[in-house]
Amino acid sequence: MMKQPFEKVVEQHGQTVLRVCRVLLGVHDAEDAWSETFLAAMRAYPDLPDDANAEAWLVTIAHRKAIDVLRARQRQPAPVGEVPESPTALGVPGAGDGDLWQAVGALPKKQRQAVAYHYVAGLAYAEIAEILGGTADAARRAAADGVKNLRKSYPGAATEGAPS
């Protein structure tokens, strides 16, 4: 098997990583996290085993970069809220989805991560457990609790969308 040009990795996984970053950080900081993720990935890419799951690898990097962004944000003297005040103006998905972002932003960190990695990136719970630490069962519970909480605060999530 051959290592494909990094450009192809960006083409194939850029969108998923962007969505994962949005769920982890909100729309505002997602782009910085995306950029940091792909720059770090490009640095390490020659050493990635040819048969590695590139998406899981990228999500693992995004996980770390998102933590960096959160830490940097906490150090700021006047921290910005997690959810933009007027989300639609910042290019978030369709009208009215500000509610969804508020719902996601209100989730406890672990649940937010588990939702991002399972429902957005499509990783298996065993893979998520490797990223978050803990067991696959714990990852499954965090994702399930996250979805339950999302449904409570954002009922649309229960009625639409493709089953995972």
Binding site: F6, V10, Q15, T16, Y119, A157
Partner: protein, 199 residues
């Protein structure tokens, strides 16, 4: 469990990703991570892929060579750190434009010849000595590089030229005056020869 990734999509995603990709190219260049930058340009002989390392232009590829395959080969032979990052190719794109517009007869670009070696590279280094609008036969080139019997090897060196157009293998013809093979197809070779003849 009906949370779908599409909830976290945005109609602006393609634009956002294009912008982020551009930003990645600049950051990778600044960090010294951009081992191979490439872009594509339109030309009278079809879409050309241009690729450069930090050393210089390393590959010009015709459409018929299949750009995806060319990029795969660059990834394998040079480095997988390959990004579409047109900025590094600005000068090459400009000079090609001038060449096709008959405003330029000589390319003045740093070249990276690391995709060829040995006799092939020797021949490819020699080719720019054949001036604009001139032609040589494979046999003449073999003589000029000091291996008069290596006519066939000169043919191979021309056929495997990683930098067609810029390194003018199109100026090498068969002894009977017919164009002979060309990496971009016989039509492209004829087009370049008549472009240069008309000037």
């Amino acid at each position: 469990m009906n949370i779908s990734p599409d909830y976290f999509a945005s109609p602006a995603d393609p634009d956002t990703l294009r912008r982020l990709g551009h930003r990645l190219g600049l950051a990778a260049e600044a960090e010294g991570l951009l081992d191979v930058a490439y872009t594509t340009v339109d030309s009278p002989v079809g879409t050309l892929l241009l690729a450069a390392t930090p050393k210089g232009l390393v590959r010009v590829a015709y459409d018929v060579e299949d750009h995806d395959r060319v990029l795969d080969a660059l990834s394998q032979r040079l480095s997988p750190r390959v990004l579409r990052a047109p900025k590094r190719l600005d000068a090459a794109a400009r000079e090609l434009d001038e060449y096709f517009g008959r405003q330029r007869r000589v390319f003045d670009l740093p070249l990276d010849l690391s995709l060829s070696s040995g006799f092939r590279q020797l021949v490819q280094r020699y080719l720019p000595e054949i001036g604009y609008g001139q032609t040589r036969t494979y046999g003449q080139v073999a003589e000029l590089v000091g291996s008069p019997k290596a006519v066939r090897a000169v043919g191979t060196a021309c056929a495997t030229n990683p930098l067609p157009v810029v390194v003018p293998c199109h100026r090498v013809l068969r002894a009977d005056g017919t164009p002979g093979g060309y990496v971009g197809g016989p039509g492209a070779k004829k087009a370049l020869l008549s472009l240069e003849a008309a000037a």
